[in-house]
Amino acid sequence: MKERTYEKYFRQNRLPHIWCPGCGNGIAMKAIVQAVEMRGLPRDKTIIVSGIGCSSRASGYMDFDTLHTAHGRAIPFATGIKLANPELNVIVITGDGDCTAIGGNHFIHGARRNIDLTVVLFNNTIYGMTGGQASPMTPLHKKATTAPYGSVDRPFDACNLAQAAGASYVARSTAFHVQHMTDMIAEGISCRGFAFIETVVQCPTAYGRKNKMPDPAEMMKWMRDNAVMKTAWDRMPEEKKADKFPIGVFHRHQAVEYTEAYSEVITLAQEGGK
């Protein structure tokens, strides 16, 4: 059997991971290491930073320097690492609650600064670790333990948010579209600036069971049937878009990267601020 070379990026003695049977996080974590391998990032110069929640346990399984921060704070920590040592490649793993609720401010400001981070959001549309509370990305009318009658909170579109806030690269994929997801992340890694990739992952335990879709394979088939490639989405009549969502690259715009901008500040200061 051919060697699965990406396996070297896992801390073998930490596997199996803690995620529930059928959880899509494992698929997204593998997509990240495969993207790292595709891009040939030097392992000892690549840092994985995560927040708190199911998604953020990923850092512990990945054989790099890894940082499991506090809830919502992965982006500030990652910003500090990148600014302190711009030669490091910094990848952030976060969840929908971590990134868009408690870490929402850090998220938009990371994008605004356009600092060179690759931020991968594992969107399972629920707080899984705490047992299934509604997140800012829980779809309207779906059930959660804190939305027993269905959520009336309008969800964020994290991709629109990242783009509006100034990210250089914005994309979405799903756990069904594994190769596509890997490609989306790999392109994000190549981007010199704030790259944001939303990966839609299934949570059969906390979300699926509450919403009549307890089987993880069924959830993935739902992704297959409802995700629409960006180009097709753009041509799709509005009335057909209900329940569907676009995937692919939504935004590419190479703006000035923050550590590069700051290196000019250093030059200016050292020349006496003229």
């Binding site: 000892d44 840092i47 499991h68 850090h106 700051y262 500040v265």
Partner: protein, 381 residues
């Protein structure tokens, strides 16, 4: 020594931090600490360092912890409301053992309180502001020159013990301008961050303690591929749910500071040789207290003063030793009474300990503290 110059406390804080090797500052504007950020924004890039203004106080704390893990000596600065927000990640730094100095230039609280008016209301928050059991080092300078020294010391302690250190200033000292002569660079002791003593192949464990109970987690990007977490962890750095690991971990966090407690507890004693009454004071208030004690002496009262620079860990020994021979201790504080209770605990009932509290935005004048000393002597407190 360098030339004499007129300097503000907040500027001296920034200068001391840079002299101690700080090359990264992240923070959020808040009065009365803002001059620290402004000074760092100007100085740091000129020495190849980095200043970043974050979106909020928590971000300011997170960004410096990230930079510290990547190998930089780091500083952040704030005041009361921001200090409250930073508590979350101060606990993270204690747990993950990340060197960091947090300056809190205290102002009147609670909440937004009385912005820019002086206070000492965050003494207990400095000790217990973050959740859970953790040790804390807090230093409170009383002059502009000592603010420089305290900043150097705070950075050194943060690096040496791999723990958050609070530079607990107050608005009096932060905005005070004094003529100072700073030490020449070669006369400043700097604690260099330790490097791992083993390689990965030699079985390096990032959180295995050295003889001083401080571990040596490698800087990110140096090839050790370590894991850092705010979960309780074992020597490998990975989370552990074990009661034995948890107990040893929390013990070690405390003991690494306790082992060095005498060495890091700094204080001055003035006129204490024959003193019958003592004023225990710290920060900007100690300046007034010193004058009050001199005036008391001029009136024939055998008054002395213990001036605490190290607030945490608390200077139990000096208080205890003096309490044996004192008839009373007065603790003037710009708060409703905080450190007074620590003094009382340390005095262990050997002499009465009385509070002189002020919390109306105004600083003490010497006469008030002198009256306090006289009242203490006369048994009227």
């Amino acid at each position: 020594m360098t030339d004499m110059k007129l300097m503000q406390g907040n500027e001296a804080c920034a200068a001391g931090a840079v002299a101690a090797g700080v090359r990264f500052f992240g923070g959020y504007p808040i009065t009365p600490s803002t001059e620290i950020a402004e000074t760092m924004a100007k100085i740091l890039p000129s020495v190849g360092g980095c200043f970043v203004q974050m979106e909020d106080e928590i971000g300011g704390m997170g960004v410096v912890l990230g930079a510290s893990l990547a190998g930089k000596k780091v500083l952040t600065a704030t005041s009361g409301p921001g200090f409250s927000l930073k508590q979350e990640l101060i606990g993270y730094a204690a747990c993950a053992e990340i060197p960091v100095v947090i300056v809190n230039v205290q102002r009147v609280g609670p909440s937004t309180g009385q912005p820019t008016s002086p206070a000492q209301g965050d003494v207990m928050q400095a000790r217990w502001g973050t959740h859970g059991d953790h040790p804390m080092i807090a230093l409170s300078p009383w002059t502009v020159r000592e603010t420089f020294d305290a900043a150097v010391m705070a950075v050194n302690y943060a690096e040496r013990f791999r723990t958050p250190v609070i530079l607990l200033m107050d608005e009096i000292v932060g905005h005070l301008r004094e003529n100072v002569q700073l030490p020449a660079a070669e006369n400043i002791d700097i604690y260099p961050r330790r490097c791992p003593s083993k390689t990965r192949l030699q079985g390096y464990e990032p959180y295995a303690p050295e003889a001083d109970l401080v571990p040596n987690p490698a800087d990110f990007g140096t090839g050790y591929r370590i894991h850092v977490t705010g979960l309780v962890h074992d020597y490998t750095g990975f989370p552990s749910g074990s009661p034995a690991v948890t107990e040893e971990f929390i013990d070690r966090l405390h003991k690494k500071i306790l082992l060095a407690q005498d060495e890091i507890t700094h204080y001055d004693e003035f006129f204490m040789d024959d003193a019958e009454y003592a004023v225990v004071s710290y920060g900007g208030v100690a300046r007034t207290a010193y004058e009050a004690v001199r005036q008391a002496r001029a009136k024939g009262i055998k008054a002395g003063m213990i001036r605490l620079m190290t607030i945490w860990p608390f200077a139990d020994k000096v208080i205890r030793r003096n309490a044996e021979s004192l008839k009373g201790i007065l603790v003037p504080e710009l708060n409703y009474g905080q450190l007074k209770y620590e003094v009382e605990r340390a005095a262990g009932g050997k002499c009465p300990v009385k509070l002189l509290a002020k919390y109306n935005t105004e600083i003490f004048v010497p006469g008030e503290i002198l009256e306090g000393i006289e009242a203490l002597k006369g048994g009227r407190l």
